[in-house]
Symmetry: C2
Subunit: 308 residues, 2 copies
Amino acid sequence: MAKTYIFGHKNPDTDAISSALIMADFEKQTGNTDATAYRLGDISPETQFALDHFKVSAPELLTDNLEDQDVILVDHNEFQQSADSIADANIKHVIDHHRIANFETAAPLYYRAEPVGCTATILYKMYKERGFEIKPEIAGLMISGIISDSLLFKSPTCTDEDRNAAEDLKSIANVDLEEYGLEMLKAGASTADKSAAELIDLDAKSFNMGDHVTRIAQVNTVDIDEVFDRAEELENEMNKVSAEQQYDVFVLLVTDIINSDSKVLVTGADKDKVGEAFNVQLENGTAFLPGVVSRKKQVVPPITDALS
Amino acid sequence: MAKTYIFGHKNPDTDAISSALIMADFEKQTGNTDATAYRLGDISPETQFALDHFKVSAPELLTDNLEDQDVILVDHNEFQQSADSIADANIKHVIDHHRIANFETAAPLYYRAEPVGCTATILYKMYKERGFEIKPEIAGLMISGIISDSLLFKSPTCTDEDRNAAEDLKSIANVDLEEYGLEMLKAGASTADKSAAELIDLDAKSFNMGDHVTRIAQVNTVDIDEVFDRAEELENEMNKVSAEQQYDVFVLLVTDIINSDSKVLVTGADKDKVGEAFNVQLENGTAFLPGVVSRKKQVVPPITDALS
């Protein structure tokens, strides 16, 4: 049987890593014994906390060329967020909860997208529909993905399906959602030990918006000021990376996971349009955005509108 | 409740019309009372036969601008095959069995694609999963879509899921699959009463392939020669439409529904590449393709490869 490569997006977050591992387990239960989870980048401290807690090994880093290989994408579809050789792969299946863009196949495929808060929630439904066994560590990975993407159920992207999935899974995984969730988020919210270059790349994604390539990075923290004390250093780094990678706009979204607010730092010639997107005037490239925690639902759509 | 527009592709075939009507019934059963089926073009004689047999009215022709309207796409996703204002609509859901290309949304959505022979087969599965009632006329529309897309189960696109769906549905719809199916296909296979302009537009779709826009029309017949007696007239019409619509290549696929073979007529500067795609030399722009009946599985992929 040909190998099936399963992976989430570049700069993987906890849902991208968890969903790849979960989907590999799901595929094995369907009889696809050569389904293998991979990752497209480093494991974040938050994700490492989850893997350690549930005693699961991280997937291997993908280095193979995917030309004519069978692949399953989880938690993403846009090619610029995927493996470099994705356009030459045979995409057999996609499980995702994002918009669809810059995605194309030559052949029919399975595609399952639902507008829920987390890819792991869709995978949970697939296990239930097929009557597949959910092992404790798989339940733990599902919970970790849901808590990470929903910031402990506080994000506006979180739906009842995400909450219900986590509630159903907590006894299998043997965790208290609040206690485990806050520990996991805090493990990923330490910023003092990271360089400016690391911070702006940790959870960053690129988006084609009109004629612009927009880079949007998100950093979770328990202390917004601690991050903005280094604003100048961060801005220099954002300008440097934008010049190298030809990003037209770079948005750094610093999110307070306790109070559920964010502050942005923006660079690029059109940075004032990002301010307009939120009906604010940027000061030194920054603005406080009360109640904003979701890149997908509260940041990408208004900036897309402003730049398109 | 805001209206939901449901429709299949331009130049609708029986699956495109049936699936729109079926999905509107499905949505109503979920409580979406303002779900309404539409069509993007004329009803073909084959489809009219099915509608008459099961006493179902054709959906209304879509003339509204879809800007900011909720829509559900069935049996297609590529924007050039969809409503002219599709890029400005809120696409909430797609049910399809084709490749994904030239499709993009600003927001997350429901998307269900499966590589089966017919969109109606996926809809059948959705009814079963939800335990929804399948009324006799809905069963009849499902069967009609499956028989049309699979040429009575003979196309290589036909899967066991399509065959099993039709077998399960025949008692609800109260039809003999072979007898009803052949009658329906023959109703759509009359070519003598159609002008050359009608024949090349009846079931035609556009595809972006590399830098080329390729138009591929398919005509079902019980007598290939009857169609090719008018080859010169057809070629002139194809050249005229290509000049008007800027098609780089125009392929007319004439399919013998009894013997399951096809003959193609090709126009355009790069027409020899279409011959190469099938490992044949075109003679006067024509070639006989034994065993070829499926545009999706046997025609689009090799031409895409040859032109990309």
